[in-house]
Amino acid sequence: MSEIVGSKSETLSHGHDVHKHRDVQGAKLGMWLFLFTELLLFAGLFLVYATYRYFHPVQFHNAGLETHTLFGTINTMVLLTSSLTMVLSIGAMQRGKKWLAVTFLAGTILLGLIFLGIKYFEWTSEIREGLYPGSPALLNMSDGEILFWGLYYTMTGLHAVHVIVGMIILTFMLVFILTGTINQNDYIKLETAGLYWHLIDIIWIFLFPLFYLIN
């Protein structure tokens, strides 16, 4: 939740500034620092994951077999593709091709939506199998498996929240492009929003092998 306001105002604080020289470097520096905080937020979770996996290697392996590798792989590709459309959108803006940028950005948002859709089917199928925190089936399993599923829902859930936040930010950017606030001479907002979107992608790149590929 704080992420929304954080990143939004990050970019907003450069608004209403139509001069030629803006502190583009400063804006990017600030955004990168914010990305570090996001990275360390997830690092805490990865640390928890690493510790518990070290304590319960076999149980993590067994539980890992239950996740849907196919959904995971498709989702990885969807998110990677959305990163591509993101940079293409910035590239189009740099060249002053407004409508191309809009198309690519809309594509990015759409891919985010597809990612969440697949996530929804994945979670519902797992919940139907009785694998959710506090479920009777899960409480009968070993500690390691409870921890695996607890981490699975917490980490992919927090990631999904970030995807939603990212989509909201990108929607604002879409509006800004349409209103001309973002234009060929001033696209730093789009660029920093893009950085945020890529970070979400990077986090997923690590979540994917840790939850879907322990075969």
Binding site: E10, G26, F34, T37, E38, L40, G44, L47, G134, G150
Partner: protein, 547 residues
């Protein structure tokens, strides 16, 4: 830099304290993106919570009137809530935002010759996040009982207790983001907005300290955020990550908690260290001794401070290897702090010392901070820590560092910069008296704690063995003396702000940039034209230069 004579009446007419925009009254303050106004907003809110924290602290001491569990002022449950709230309010609402959010906001841009911070709106947003977080914490008190976990929220107690920990933790989570945003704003500001000619080694040492602090804020706070988030997740969804019954590991929680909360100690103490460097040179009328050593030791403290969190967990059930590593690193972090103290004392050597209240505060600081730091050595050694951990000794040590060190300098900084911020002077005599009373009260309050701790008095006890009665009573009376000193000091400062004698732009003979502009500073851009930096920050033209 010579005292630029700006007529006080002109300064008052054109100050940031006057409304210049179209907004009026309170809106002109709470919607202002002027870093000076945001600094004042923080100051008002911080000292409001400080007052609450002090009252809670005095009540805790009052509970120690009688030793046994019978005939107490408060029940055990109430006492447990008291120390939790005292800790949460003082740590998260007062000392962590502390000097950076208030005086840092006010003086960082001025000291580097900038017109504002890099992201002024983000700056205002951090204040709103701070207020939101604080309100959530306050609301949690009236909802489902007062939290009773201690400010560390150790699991599994924090996930089992029936009180409203979830909301309190959420409040702290929000405060964390306020702190992060302030940190990233300061780093960007220092990198991007230094005035021409101000190289890294021409920055005032206060700016160096804020820079090191800002990095700790940015890099450490997210780990606290995720830890608190996991407590909330655990309490709401019972996923098991922190529940020992489901395989969760309480020691892992402590790692995550202290990965933030130990560096947080440096968030609390680095900015005061920066202020000390400023005050000492100003009142010694000479340049600082070992500028680079002080600047670099700020970074070194921030860096090594990040590696030593495990010394809070020596008896928590860590592996022997971890005890070894953390004890070793802990001893190393003592060195840069020591270097700073030596440099400060050496700065007084062959100075021309003017014993004004800010300098007296610094002397009190060096005295109390040395006690705090040197008692820390006993806690860094695993053998003695096994005896002293979780006793009053730790409470005493901590208060010597954070209150005696950090907060005394916060007060000292107020005495130093108040004439600049408001263009008026407080009563010097009253300030000296307040400090003397506070100093006596402080030592009466906390020195007995060191003694009791060494004799085995555990902390967070609402009742205690009769053998500690005398020391407990001395400590209790000390808290009253301290409060009398605080009241005199705040009354004097407030009187100074509103009714004090008008002073010029540089009453102390300071050499950094803030003393070259009017008191109170002009809105919103600070400088009529951006200054060009030629000298090192502490160049006193009248002093004899020795190379």
């Amino acid at each position: 830099m010579a005292d630029v004579a700006i007529p006080p009446n002109e300064a008052f007419a054109n100050s940031y304290l006057k409304n210049h925009g179209k907004r009026k009254g309170i809106l002109a303050w709470i919607l202002s993106t002027d870093h000076k106004r945001i600094g004042i907003l923080y100051m008002v809110s911080l000292f409001t919570f400080f007052t609450v924290g002090v009252i809670l602290g005095v009540l805790m001491r009052l509970e120690m009137l009688v030793p046994g569990p019978a005939g107490k002022l408060f029940t055990a449950q109430e006492y447990n809530a008291l120390f939790t709230l005292h800790g949460v309010i003082m740590i998260f609402l007062f000392v962590i935002p502390g000097i950076p959010a208030t005086l840092g906001n006010f003086f960082l841009p001025i000291q580097i010759g900038a017109k504002d911070v890099a992201f002024p709106r983000l700056n205002l947003l951090s204040w709103y996040l701070y207020v939101t977080g604080s309100i959530i914490i306050i609301v949690s008190l009236f909802h489902n009982g007062l939290p009773d976990t201690g400010w560390t929220f150790y699991i599994p107690y924090s996930i089992r207790t029936g009180t409203d920990v979830t909301m309190a933790v959420f409040g702290v989570f929000i405060l964390g983001f306020s702190s992060i945003l302030t940190g990233l704003n300061f780093i960007t500001t220092i990198h991007r907005l230094r005035a021409p000619g101000m190289g890294w080694f021409k920055m005032p040492l206060f700016v160096w300290a804020l820079y090191a602090t800002a990095w700790v804020q940015v890099i450490a706070t997210p780990v606290l955020a995720i830890t608190l988030l996991l407590i909330m997740v655990e309490r709401i969804f019972s996923v098991g990550i922190f529940d020992p019954a489901k395989g969760g590991d309480p020691v892992l929680y402590q790692h995550l908690f202290w990965i933030y909360s130990h560096p947080a100690v440096y968030i609390m103490i680095l900015p005061p260290m920066g202020v000390v460097s400023e005050i000492i040179t100003t009142f010694s009328r000479r340049t600082v001794f070992g500028y680079k050593a002080i600047a670099i030791s700020s970074l070194a403290i921030a860096f090594i401070g990040y590696l030593v969190w495990g010394h809070h967990m020596f008896v928590a059930g860590m592996s022997t290897t971890a005890q070894f590593v953390f004890s070793f690193l802990t001893f190393l972090v003592a060195v840069p702090s020591g270097i700073k103290v030596f440099n400060w004392v050496a700065t007084m050597y062959k100075g021309s010392i003017d014993l004004k209240p800010p300098f007296l505060f610094v002397m009190a600081f060096i005295f109390l901070f040395c006690i705090g730091g040197l008692t820390g050595l006993l806690l860094g050694s695993v053998a003695t820590d096994a005896q002293l951990h979780a006793t009053y000794f730790v409470v005493g040590h901590f208060h010597y560092i954070i209150f005696g060190g950090g907060v005394f300098i916060f007060f000292g900084a107020l005495h130093y910069w108040l004439p600049k911020m408001f263009g008026r002077m407080y009563s010097i005599k009253a300030a000296n008296w307040a400090l003397a009373i506070m100093f006596v009260g402080f030592n009466m309050l906390y020195f007995p704690m060191l003694v009791m701790g060494a004799e085995g008095m555990p902390r967070r006890y609402f009742a205690y063995l009769p053998k500690f009665e005398t020391w407990q009573h001395i400590s209790m009376v000390g808290s009253w003396v301290l409060v009398i000193g605080l009241i005199i000091m705040f009354a004097n400062l407030l009187h100074g702000i509103f009714k004090g004698k008008v002073v010029g732009s540089n009453p102390w003979g300071g050499t950094t940039l803030e003393w070259t502009i009017a008191s109170p500073p002009p809105p919103p851009e600070n400088f009529e034209e951006i200054p060009v930096i030629v000298h090192e920050p502490y160049y006193h033209p009248e002093a004899i230069e020795v190379k």
